[in-house]
């Protein structure tokens, strides 16, 4: 019955899902060391939250995983494959999709076009034939329905409200049939009702086997959702574990209060 939950997302079977392992990653800009020996795991089929005070390197870590930055040192493993240094697109093709902290949609393209851009496809015919093929429109419609945007399908994405754009970004990411989704501040700027809806969607998708890594400020949201919490401070992991454990960890309190 699982696939009834979210039409357009095929459940991910146990065997194929892989975990992410960040291993001793350093990244610095000019003099600033954003990450130092950053090490943590994103377990397959779980929801992992990445938290930490401002400037603790959350987004940098995120960008190293998704390929936007090349780590100066260390490695990012997808299953047993080292993907550090890969281009973002190549990583996406490994079924690792991401959203952006500041929501980004192709404003002058229609919602439907926004949906099909991330579709995984290869081969000349696929490239140079119709932009929307086979069941893609169908899948797109189902996913848009899932996030309640179907009625805007032909509008310019730029005409959607902020919250709607966030949902569109999520739905579009799903078109890439990701095994792992990296969400950067998904609840940022959303009103409580929206946040609840979002939490709902994430749970449903997770139930289908989608692995999540979520960078988040909103503690309530995180603690409600996450199976695992990773706490970054000054670019290194100071604590990792179940929400309850992390909450109890003095180092974490120190880090937050310290700031």
């Amino acid at each position: 019955m699982a696939n009834q939950l979210v039409e357009g997302v095929t459940p991910i079977d146990e065997a194929t899902s892989r975990s992410l392992h960040v291993r001793g990653v350093d990244k610095s800009f000019g003099g600033v060391r954003a990450l130092q020996g950053c090490t943590f795991d994103v377990t397959a089929r779980k929801i992992t939250a990445l938290i930490g005070p401002n400037g603790s390197g959350k987004t940098t870590a995120f960008n190293c995983i998704s390929g936007f930055y090349v780590p100066d040192k260390g490695s990012v493993m997808l299953g047993d494959r080292n993907i550090s240094g890969w281009t973002p697109s190549r990583i996406v093709h490994q079924r690792v999709a991401r959203t952006f902290q500041i929501t980004r949609v192709f404003k002058r393209m229609s919602v439907l076009e926004n949906m099909v851009v991330p579709v995984r496809r290869t081969g000349l015919k696929a490239m140079f034939w119709d932009g929307i093929q086979g069941n893609e429109r169908d899948r797109a419609e189902k996913l848009l329905e899932f996030v309640g945007l179907l009625r805007f399908i032909d509008d310019h994405a730029g005409t959607l409200s902020f919250g709607q754009q966030k949902l569109l970004e999520l739905a579009a990411a799903l078109m890439a049939e990701p095994q792992i989704m990296l969400l950067d501040e998904p609840s940022g700027g959303l009103n409580p009702i929206m946040i609840d809806r979002l939490a709902g969607y994430i749970r449903e998708l997770n139930a289908l086997g989608v692995t999540f890594l979520i960078v988040e400020h909103n503690m309530g949201f995180v603690m409600r959702l996450a199976d695992d919490v990773v706490v970054l401070h000054h670019g290194s992991v100071i604590s990792q574990g179940r929400p309850a454990e992390v909450r109890a960890d003095p180092a974490v309190l120190e880090a937050y209060l310290g700031n």
Binding site: S89, R90, V92, S110, R120, F128, F152, D154, D155
Partner: protein, 329 residues
């Protein structure tokens, strides 16, 4: 299709050599503009290299003719291919990084090709140029030949442009124009897409250059790299509507005849200079006040719809269109 029929029919109701010429040039510019539009319009990267490829095409084709005796009108597609490969190399340098380096490299590339044409005397004949054997044909027949040849290239270019516009490839290019980082993050291999777009764009410029070389029976570093050619491609595309299939064609069909008559209308002692300045003025004005170009602006006026999108999506029923108008204000 209407225009095509007219154009095919035209030479039969006795076009004189001059008008055949005029249209031949118009087709050439239209095809080059359509080509430029693929990198400059769809992808949003301003290329100043297409002039370089025009000239390179002229020389490669010319040398093939003089050294190997291969007739240009047959080799031109191959010439285009060779230049497209060069484009791949240039693109690799210029397009790996995002942002401004592209325009610089493309301009530099044009200068370099011209520079080599000028200084590799033993190969290119240097400033003395390269003079080609004439196609021995009756002038009018010859005119027809070039006319139909270029018309063919133009039709091809439009077909390609439509194809790309409809394809996932085109979708990717437009995504790159809209937000390259997001596109990359959505699984589009932006470097590859950009380079391929650049190659296609170069192909048309090179073919046009090759045919032009045969047309003039002569190539030299000045006229193979006349900067006004590049300016024309860009202005025509922008005026017509960047990023649309038909914009560049429209632009070319408006601007070229206008320009060539300008010379006959204005007092000749200034026509040439004014010509250049006017093109510049048009470019600035269009960029500033009508960046969408004639076609899109007209469409917006007529249909009150936002700029054209992927045709496949254009199946949109009228209803949401209404809704959209309301939302737009």
């Amino acid at each position: 299709m209407v225009p095509l029929v007219i154009l095919v029919a035209l030479p039969f109701n006795g076009l004189n050599g001059f008008l055949l010429d005029l249209l031949y040039f118009t087709f050439t510019y239209a095809a080059m503009s359509v080509g430029w539009n693929i990198i400059g319009g769809y992808t949003g990267y301003i290329s100043l290299a297409n002039l370089g490829f025009f000239g390179l095409g002229s020389y490669v084709a010319g040398l093939m003719l003089t050294h190997l005796g291969w007739p240009i009108l047959l080799t031109s597609p191959l010439v285009g291919l060779l230049c497209a490969l060069v484009a791949a190399a240039v693109g690799w340098v210029a397009l790996r990084t995002r942002g401004p380096s592209f325009v610089i490299v493309t301009l530099a590339f044009t200068f370099i090709v011209q520079f080599l044409a000028l200084n590799l005397k033993d190969i290119t004949g240097g400033s003395a140029g390269l003079y080609l054997p004439l196609l021995s044909l009756d002038p009018l027949l010859r005119g027809d030949l070039f006319y139909y040849y270029m018309l063919g290239v133009l039709v091809l270019s439009i077909a390609v442009a439509i194809g790309i516009r409809r394809s996932r490839f085109g979708l990717g290019l437009i995504a790159i124009r809209e937000d390259e980082g997001k596109a990359e993050g959505s699984g589009i291999n932006t470097s590859l897409f950009k380079i391929v777009a650049f190659m296609i764009s170069a192909w048309f410029a090179a073919v046009a250059g090759a045919v032009h070389a045969q047309y003039l029976n002569y190539i030299d570093p000045d006229l193979a790299f006349e900067l006004i050619i590049m300016l024309n491609m860009i202005v025509m595309t922008l005026l017509g509507s960047r990023g649309t299939v038909w914009g560049p064609v429209l632009g070319a069909f408006l601007l070229f005849p206008l320009q060539s008559y300008l010379v006959y209308w204005l007092p000749s002692t200034i026509a040439g200079e004014v010509h250049l300045a006017l093109l510049g003025v048009v470019l600035v004005l269009v960029a500033r006040f009508m960046p969408n170009g004639l076609l899109v602006t007209a469409q917006e006026l007529i249909s009150r719809r936002p700029p054209p999108r992927l045709e496949t999506v254009a199946v949109a029923s009228g209803e949401p269109a209404q809704g959209r108008v309301r939302r737009n204000g």
